[in-house]
Subunit: 389 residues, 2 copies
């Protein structure tokens, strides 16, 4: 039995994965909205757009042309946030202000590489439109790029070497050059929809690899390591999967290998997590069968999202997994999962803004994760667009 | 001399106030933008709008009518995120799943009170349009509400009792009922502009008080306490003010009492902080003269923002100061400052989205804080709107 009272009172929930709190105000959904509205979303995109730099055969910013690809296509971002080659940074010692500069003006250089990966040659599709099996090439490419960038000392490198998909011949569209230096972390993420800062509707994601471990996976790693240390080597997310499967209050969907839940600590109105049911450290740990289950879980999430408000639902999503380089313990503590952060709250045009209070004080949500899960559970079935006349 | 190389290479900067890192990619501003554009912003608002629930004399959601106020007006938010009276929350012990629920499904009840405070009876104004002295009533009301909510054991309560503004007769429009229970923290913040989730252009801010200490001020408190402990009792922000006044690279504006900088660790493109030059713990520590200097600093920030892209610049702002209730040490460690988080990046219509990578991995910015400060320094002078024919 859930604590029914949490549907009525303001409360805080703790996110054990990040080690932070958020404010939940379930009664606040009645608030009228006269603020900014999202556009209804372009529905009638062409299958091929001659001005799109992601469509097959079209030219890109730096003059190169895309191949006539059939499934996915990966390339180095023409406006990468990090680069493989740049000057090293050594802060100048500054004797003038005793040591205040070194305390308060700290910086470090970051190297890395950013990729763009299309999900399909077809400009007008989204993951929600694609059958699970048609997203497998993207998942295989993620796995391959991740494998290519693993440190030779990473225990996952051995796993990667034995991967079936590594042995088959890779089409040039889904291979990337070997990195010229060892990097620390690979963040795979998708910004979908104009509301989430996406500048091109052609279905694609990004992959940013860096010489540093970014804040979010670092915070999760600390929490997961501490949990394991305090609870006899059990994984936080494995315990969480077990608990949610018993409680059945926040489950949106599940298959043999993955659980999809609106987490207890969700910040975004319809936030979900896809969590591996067994301990999977990274993409390369997935079997061929598990990759298909993963594709299915992604398909279920994105289709339900679109069905919820009968719109092309915006979101940012991202995969958290083992670092490319790290201690054996760090790799072993990692637990494969994927976050979806969608902004819409009440309809295709009314979103939740995480602004003043959220930025200055603490994240705040209106509907409870249990209410969100119930609604997403109920909107499976065929994609609403396919049923339209 | 700045480390010039940081204008060219990707790097991370450390935020000592929060204890977190962000990624800076200075070369990335050349990226073309085909994504969502902000609306040009409504320019021709009427001085009085009969449908606005914040204008004088108009009815509000719960049926009450606003007084015919002349300066500011404060009332309890009709859709408060927290309430003074609600049932207590005692999690039900759940023997079925050993202790996983108490580890992974943690919650606590939150009580509190939310206020809305208008800056002016005039619907069409913003802080940028108002003279510094005309925003003094709002600053005095903040101070008065803060004072009213202080715990009797808080050393600031004595300071508040002696405040001149507490002794003058308070107009009913700027007084609030005494709280019925002791609360822990008061967050004053403004969401300005549709892009920052503001649902009514009438100039106003919000004040949320809670029985809990929210995440952001809590994180800052930990960092500030640690800094003091490690550096002979010196305040982190006081050292930072000293350093920035020596370096002169990130200063936007200053007067006798306040420094306005684009902080070394700014995340938002034109983020600024207003920092007290002397150790001020909270609003009640400010002298009458200092309140005017504070008003001037706010005026300089908001006017420069509007001048930068010749638009009504959106932002979220918020004040961090001592908690209402806390240990003497906590109060003494607090250091008064105000954050401004504005989303615009390149023009009135092109904003920075903090989305996929930023949410999943680490905040990322394009232009450097030094570049942002130089631009804001250069756009003082009269408000652009006043110069238009
Ligand atoms: O209270 P308002 O102005 O209606 O609402 C706005 O500010 C709140 C506090 O930052 C947010 O929770 C809301 O998402 C935002 O739209
Ligand atoms: O790289 P894109 O898609 O052009 O840009 C988008 O995603 C990036 C990574 O989350 C963000 O830094 C940008 O603000 C956003 O507009």
């Amino acid at each position: 039995m859930p604590d029914k009272i949490l549907d009525d009172i303001s409360h805080r929930r703790y996110n054990p994965l990040r080690g932070s709190w958020l404010l939940v105000s379930p009664h606040r959904t009645k608030r009228p909205w006269q603020g900014q509205q999202e556009g209804p979303g372009i529905n009638k995109l062409p299958e091929y757009d001659p001005t799109c730099y992601l469509c097959p055969r079209n030219p890109r910013a730096q003059g190169e042309s895309n191949p006539d690809y059939k499934e996915t296509f990966v390339f180095v971002n023409d406006y990468s946030a990090v680069k493989e080659v740049q000057q090293d940074y050594e802060p100048e010692p500054d004797p003038s202000s005793d040591d205040l500069s070194s305390l308060l003006l700290r910086a470090e250089g970051v190297k890395g590489k950013c990729f763009v990966l299309t999900f399909s040659p077809k400009h007008h599709l989204t993951l929600a439109d694609m059958a699970a099996k048609d997203t497998l090439p993207a998942i295989e490419t993620w796995t391959r790029i991740y494998a290519t960038h693993l440190a030779p000392t990473n225990p996952l490198a051995d796993v990667a070497a034995k991967l079936a998909l590594m042995r088959t011949e890779t089409p040039p569209e889904s291979s990337v050059p070997a990195p010229i230096q060892q990097l620390r972390y690979m963040q795979i993420f998708e910004n979908k929809g104009a509301a989430m800062g996406c500048s091109n509707p052609h279905p694609h994601c990004q992959i940013w690899t860096t010489s540093t471990l970014p804040e979010e996976p670092a915070a999760e790693a600390v929490q997961m390591a501490q949990y394991r240390a305090e609870h006899g080597g059990r994984h936080l997310l494995q315990d969480y999967v077990k608990l949610e499967m018993e409680k059945r209050e926040r489950i949106v969907y599940q298959n043999a290998s993955f659980l999809v839940v609106c987490p207890w600590w969700a910040v975004w109105p319809f936030e979900v997590m896809i969590i591996a049911k067994r301990h999977v450290r990274a993409l390369v740990d997935l079997t061929e069968q598990e990759r298909l289950y993963f594709a299915e879980a992604i398909q279920e999430v994105t289709r339900r999202y679109d069905n919820l408000f009968e719109t092309s639902f915006p979101y940012s999503s991202g995969i958290h997994q083992a670092p490319l380089d790290g201690t054996n313990e760090e790799i072993e503590n990692s637990y494969f999962h994927m976050h979806f952060y969608p902004p819409l709250l009440r309809s295709a045009t009314v979103r939740k803004f995480l602004v003043g209070y959220e930025l200055m004080a603490e994240p705040q949500r209106d509907i409870t994760p249990e209410q969100a899960a119930a609604r997403l559970r109920d909107c499976g079935g065929e994609l609403y667009r396919k049923k339209l006349p």
